[in-house]
Symmetry: C2
Subunit: 504 residues, 2 copies
Amino acid sequence: MNRHYHNLIQKLEEISHLSGIMSTLGWDQEVMMPAGASEARAKQIAALAGIIHDRMIDPALGECLDTLQNQALTDFGAVEHCNIREAKRHYDLETKVPKQLVQELAELGSRGQGIWVNARRENRFADFAPVLKRFLQLKIDWAQCVSPNMHVYDANIDLFERGTTMNEITPIFEYLKRELIPLIQAIQDQPKQPDTAFLRGRFALDKQEVLARQISRDIGFDFNQGRIDVSVHPFCGGSHPTDVRITTRYKDSDFIESLYSVIHETGHALYEQGRPHSELGDLPAAESLTMGIHESQSLFWERMIAQGKPFCSHYFATFRATFPEQLQAATVDSFYRAINTCKPDFIRVEADELTYPLHIILRYEIERGLFEGAIQVNDLPHIWNDLMRKYLGITPPTDTLGVLQDSHWSGGAFGYFPSYTLGAIYACQFYRTLLREQPDTEEAVAVGKFAPIKNWLNEKIHRQGRLYTPQQLVERVTGEALNPVYFIEYLKSKYSEIYGLSAS
Amino acid sequence: MNRHYHNLIQKLEEISHLSGIMSTLGWDQEVMMPAGASEARAKQIAALAGIIHDRMIDPALGECLDTLQNQALTDFGAVEHCNIREAKRHYDLETKVPKQLVQELAELGSRGQGIWVNARRENRFADFAPVLKRFLQLKIDWAQCVSPNMHVYDANIDLFERGTTMNEITPIFEYLKRELIPLIQAIQDQPKQPDTAFLRGRFALDKQEVLARQISRDIGFDFNQGRIDVSVHPFCGGSHPTDVRITTRYKDSDFIESLYSVIHETGHALYEQGRPHSELGDLPAAESLTMGIHESQSLFWERMIAQGKPFCSHYFATFRATFPEQLQAATVDSFYRAINTCKPDFIRVEADELTYPLHIILRYEIERGLFEGAIQVNDLPHIWNDLMRKYLGITPPTDTLGVLQDSHWSGGAFGYFPSYTLGAIYACQFYRTLLREQPDTEEAVAVGKFAPIKNWLNEKIHRQGRLYTPQQLVERVTGEALNPVYFIEYLKSKYSEIYGLSAS
């Protein structure tokens, strides 16, 4: 092996192993750590973060990368090129930013979180506004350091959805608005809404847990290489593809929320467990691709599969056997309709699949406006509420239920939101391709046969690691570029049927 | 603050924080980690261990220590001197051993474990003998590097029980043998043995867990700074005094074993939670002292408190309410006698407090013989069984139940065993002092008042960190040197009463 490449791999693998430890600490903190340990844990994390950072900005790594990039690497294949390219990008991201800016971002991220929590609780946007203004400025400065040739907002998006810019996103989101706003309006105007009363009640937590574990296992989660636990906010973490840890929370008033959250996180987990680490090592080429592609995998299972009729038809008997009292009078059909209701509401994370994109588009337009200077931070509550009225026909009664609801901005994560809806569009397009290539998919789901789906996702997406850009991957998998028409077709067809709308 | 001292503290705190992470990984591996992750975890641990080792042998640390030791440190107090002394000792331990020896020890430790597991399962001592021989040689070489002026076995003991040598241990152990062998014999000769039948049965695991948690909390375990979980072998781990994690295992055929194991580990945990980290920082002076002192804390609670009559009298009603069927006919007195039976058996970890020291003495004499060359590895099964007959009157039917039972030697931990019995002697002497200083202790225990005991241990032992040697600590706490007479007096008095022997 090329000596410089060998050297690179050793450095990258060490960083990967240390980052795996960091993830374990993060998981432990959310799931296991006693409350009193938070100060000690913060110091431990700071010590390890310092070491990882030192490794990432090590000038020897930079020299190694430069040498490799200047060689005519005729003997290198796609994997080696990918590792070099990704390592170089990370190195640049870490080294192009002056230390003072890095420190101020870290400090504001940690302080901003606390200020946001209080501001949200107290419904005082004015307390949070200075943090937001400062973060905006820092993220503009940051963008100019790392990607001086990109628009500052594009540079922020690029961190989460590599290679995707406003040029792609804006027309897609405009199209979604044109289609979804009237569709949601038409649904609200329907006098007959699905009955959801039987989804409320008391659902024993231990039964919910058994159910969630069974379904997660059924669709392919490998408990020999992962765990499911409880945390305040559901997430998918863990230290390695062989150590994937998902969490959920169980509410006794609602079994659908936790069940579908476990299915969602299982989608993320299957991506992680399916990464090509055994062939490619613990290296960038074996990493997951982008936030949007990751979200496409969770939404694929949550929406394309588990919110579909074949899935409901397969599991309804299990649901009713688990909660016989509550589901006595329900049927497969009424269950399917009840879990697929559309109703505009204030909170993004509780939104259904039809209204969810509008929550995202609103945030995207605000972020874009902030970075372009067309929107001022002080005007956000007002602008937020105007857009909510315009897109969903409702007005948040407080900023707590409006502009203050998400944690993202308190940590400086601008440009993250579009990934959620890009993920939904990817998921839909992937699913359409699966149906074309495996036409018996719905029949298989209806009898609980999920392995062909998991295998298809493994092969087409998970095992590709970071070899391609999201754009290339979508082309390779589906034969065409990202196309939101399938997403709209899917939503229109599904919800017209549920709500008895005349197909438009 | 002295610039060099400030520099030292920063380096030591970083090592402490990274070591805390290592402990979290160790706990996670035993308690949480999915089985499939073991290979990835091994790589993560190796990466972090390498970094910690680099920090510990950093020549800049060595220079800093030399500078500090060469200064007339008139402005330094006991804490600063302790930090410098302990850091220097660790630095020497890490740097005086040639890298090749360090590596061979690590490699053999990891390989030896697997060989021992198989040898024990297959009852084939011959498979394990080569590991033992090699470890012995390596540990002799190691001792000559780190402590060239000490006897090689003393240097090994010193690693676990600082400042204690064969000169102290041998006379103590000879005295214990003289007293205990005839006492145990007399007990075996008694026709009337306590009834223990009611301790066998089926004890629901969830009830055992509730009980164990309640008692652990009652005696002072702070769940805001710790957890209790389940693992294959009980241990006390965690990353920091604010993050102390104990484990146990629950058997449905025996609630005493897991309950007393939780009490034992709670004793270790109270030591950890009581360390003076908030005053002294995450530095050597705030560490726990030695294995023996640590064991004195676990045995203090397990034996001095929880195996005593006042404790049984306080909790018996709870035990009977928890397991009414099984304990129907039992009384406080019959319960106390049943949990304090003496019966020679083959396995150390299951031994009672009377026979336990003889298991230790046997191992001590074998280790000493091995290091002195008076005993050959190949003769061990034979020698082991002879000593078992001589000390406990029983002959192990297999090496699995004899010389192969403990894991210690498979990892090269020679010199560790004496700490267990030194701990028991410390515990007894501490308890005697407590009774002198707080004469109402037994009345307090009988009504479930444990705070004065915990506070006393906190003040006298836990908050002393590493400021003193074990010898100094015992003197300071009890007013005299370690004295095994109290241990023998306690055992004779207790067991004469239980077995109706005439006091000798």
